[in-house]
């Protein structure tokens, strides 16, 4: 577990993107969520010492920054995989069999929702309604929608992603 974290940390030092974002919001505690959102987008996760830098620069208590990062589920405090696999678990998709779809993804990837595999290939998320109810149940990989999914089709879809 700790090895994964150290490895995922490579290349963080001297990262202009993150530092640039922090500088942009220096001294603005009200911009905490904006700052974290941009860093999450840029870096795909929020390492602890980046959190500390953000808290210092934006003048918010570290515990408050951690509360926000752990509260909102778009933030990840652990490194994410190269591909995000998302099963919509909204009400319509649920009625149309999203649970079976979820089981299949779990079976094929070995991941429970929220987890990333050891090779950092996939992060599995089961999230709520994305608004494409009419073509549910849906699998969304890296933002691409695969509608009218059945458990049988999952393998084919996942195979396309290294």
């Amino acid at each position: 577990m700790s090895e994964q974290i150290i490895e995922g940390n490579d290349g963080i030092e001297g990262n202009d993107g993150i530092d640039g974002i922090i500088e942009k919001y220096r001294g603005k505690p009200g911009a905490l969520i904006h700052a974290l959102t941009e860093i999450q987008h840029e870096n795909r996760w929020l390492p602890r010492e980046v959190m500390q830098k953000v808290a210092d620069a934006l003048e918010v208590p570290f515990s408050q920054a951690m509360q926000i990062a752990s509260f909102y589920k778009t933030f990840s405090l652990t490194p994410k995989g190269r591909h995000e696999v998302h099963v919509c678990t909204g009400m319509t998709c649920h009625l149309r069999g999203a649970a079976k779809l979820q089981e299949k993804v779990q079976e094929l990837t070995g991941l429970a929702p929220g987890e990333t595999d050891a090779e950092s290939r996939f992060t599995f998320e089961a999230g709520s309604c994305l608004g494409s109810c009419s073509i549910g149940p849906e699998l969304i990989v890296d933002g691409k929608h695969y509608g009218r999914m059945t458990p049988e089709k999952v393998d084919d879809v996942l195979k396309r992603y290294e």
Partner: protein, 554 residues
């Protein structure tokens, strides 16, 4: 583009656009809404684009927002005449372009009734569209959301000009009050009264907010509205700001829809370019600016006071409502929050008048309502009907009934904070108060049809599972109450239910409703309450079967 600095300048510019457009000119609109997008409408749009270029034809081509008939996508509408083509593939592009130029119809792609085979060519003939009243979303197939001129061509911003130059803020407020426009986000609270409270608050700095969060499960019409015609919502917001006396607006929306974000940002930028937003709007002296904010992935951030905490940069914990946000909201300033659909109704009310608005709908629920129709239903998508429309019309005439010859069992409204009614009540009209009394408040308008094989115990458990993950965790009745409800329902579902479970559930639903801090907790047990009201035998049977199996195992 020099800024338009008067109502006359806007009229002149609009006339200029219209004179350059020929209503008889062939046109094609490809839907790029959420579902059609998921069915790869991008490839269809690309095929049309390429074909039109290749054939060097003069066709007005647009990629638009949601046409509404989501499960039949990719949707294409050809004009003049609003000819609707369904399940269009990229290979069909050449034929559609050729036929549209000649004024002919591609028969194999028009609507065919799944049972009778009867064809319908024009939108006004297609059963799905025929029974609707598309005041808010009717323009979407005519508008490229990235082109403000398209919105101006259908009369956009005329309401704003009228409000700014022909009405005082008080008159605008009165018109909205007279119209009895009720909030369409779930509360059903009269918008005019909320506006008035904010307007009368002593603080000079005021805010107006569009709640575009749409966290309700199975509701997708706000997104269709914001992605397809952001200007209509924006226009309503500016008019509201004028009436209330707000200088700053916020559009709060989801982080997971880049297309919607792009369209809103373009709308804001173009409106500002044209002098319709920002300083000295249309030369009236009224200043108003709008900022976008994104949620960070939690349902409770759609609750109005939590949303405001979120805009401030704080965790979205709702404030206890003894402080009304219309008096003390964002940074403790008076803040008026309304749903996307509520704001979208404002321009029409101003242009056509409150009397027109109140002529539509039922006694206490006026105007139309956007409904996201989905579930076990043949025709699924975004529809708009007058308030008071019987549910039967929506489910059968528009929705086409239940697929696979199954019988419908229940209708669910309001996602995780609503309720289910049995199909025996299907003649009930769609409105705020009646549906509320039946235990299935319409919420934001997500209507889910459930067929005869649906397990109501599982639906109740599923909804609580969703809410438990979305609770902020501050207050005991919501956090602990819902958690214990979920445990009990899971046990019942798995056949481990016990006789006193229903009694415990009754206590939990009562205390969670009474004791929770915010609407999420207060309404969290509503679906379960409705299930126990109408489907109790199913729960009792499950519990009995469970204990029977248990005692057999001994």
């Amino acid at each position: 583009m020099p800024k338009l600095q008067s109502a006359a300048a806007l009229d002149d510019y609009r006339a200029k656009i219209l004179s350059a457009r020929d209503p008889a000119k062939p046109c094609i609109a490809v839907c790029a809404g959420a579902a059609c997008g998921g069915l790869d409408s991008a490839a269809v749009a690309a095929a049309f684009s390429a074909e039109i270029k290749r054939a060097e034809t003069k066709v007005d081509f647009r990629v638009t927002g949601c046409h509404g008939f989501c499960n039949q996508g990719p949707n294409v509408i050809a004009g003049p005449g609003d000819i609707c083509y369904f399940e269009v593939k990229p290979e069909d592009a050449a034929e559609i372009v050729a036929c549209t130029l000649k004024g002919e119809v591609v028969e194999r792609l028009v609507y065919h009734h799944p049972v009778t085979g009867e064809k319908a060519v024009h939108m006004s003939e297609v059963p799905f569209y025929k029974h609707q009243m598309r005041i808010l979303i009717g323009d979407i197939p005519r508008i490229d959301p990235m082109r403000i001129d398209d919105y101006l061509a259908v009369g956009g911003y005329a309401a704003l000009a009228k409000a700014l130059f022909k009405m005082t803020p008080e008159q605008v407020l009165d018109e909205v009050k007279k119209a009895n426009l009720r909030g369409r986000g779930g509360g059903g609270f009269p918008a005019g009264l909320k506006w008035e409270t904010t307007k009368n608050a002593p603080e000079k700095t005021k805010y107006v907010i569009v709640n575009g969060h749409e966290g309700e499960s199975a509701a997708f019409m706000d997104r269709a509205m914001l992605t397809g015609n952001p200007h209509k919502v924006l226009e309503g917001l500016i008019i509201g700001a004028y009436a209330i006396g707000a200088q700053q607006g916020f559009i709060y929306t989801r982080h997971d829809s880049p297309q919607m974000a792009e369209h809103i940002q373009a709308a804001l930028a173009q409106a500002e370019d044209y002098g319709l937003l920002g300083k000295n709007i249309l030369g009236s002296g009224f200043d108003f600016a709008v900022e976008m904010h994104y949620d960070v992935g939690i349902f409770v951030s759609g609750e109005s006071s939590a949303l405001m905490r979120s805009i401030e940069g704080n965790p979205p914990e709702p404030r206890p409502k003894y402080i009304r946000t219309s008096v003390s909201g964002i940074w403790d300033k008076p803040s008026n929050l309304n749903n996307v659909e509520t704001w979208a109704n404002v321009p029409e009310i101003i242009v056509r008048g409150a009397d027109w608005f109140t002529s539509i709908g039922s006694e206490k629920s006026k105007g139309t309502k956007l409904v996201s129709l989905s579930g076990h239903v043949v025709n699924s998508g975004v529809i708009e009907v007058p308030m008071g429309t019987p549910l039967r019309t929506i489910v059968f005439d528009i929705g086409g009934g239940v697929p696979d010859g199954k019988a419908p069992k229940a209708i669910h409204f309001g996602g995780a904070m609503g309720g289910s009614i049995p199909i025996s009540l299907i003649d009930a009209p769609l409105d705020f108060d009646g549906m509320s009394k039946l235990g299935a408040p319409i919420g934001a308008g997500g209507l889910l049809v459930m067929d005869e094989d649906t397990d109501m115990v599982e639906v109740a458990r599923y909804l609580l599972d969703f809410l438990v993950k979305e609770s902020c965790g501050k207050c005991v009745p919501c956090r602990e109450g819902m958690y214990q409800m979920l445990k009990i329902l899971t046990n019942i579902k798995e056949g481990k239910g016990r006789k006193f479970d229903l009694e415990r559930l009754a206590d939990l639903t009562e205390v969670t409703s009474l004791g929770s801090l915010c609407a999420l907790g207060k309404t969290s047990s509503d679906p379960l309450k409705s299930m126990l009201r109408y489907f109790k035998p199913e729960f009792e049977a499950r519990i009995a079967a469970g204990s029977a199996a248990g005692s057999e195992a001994k």
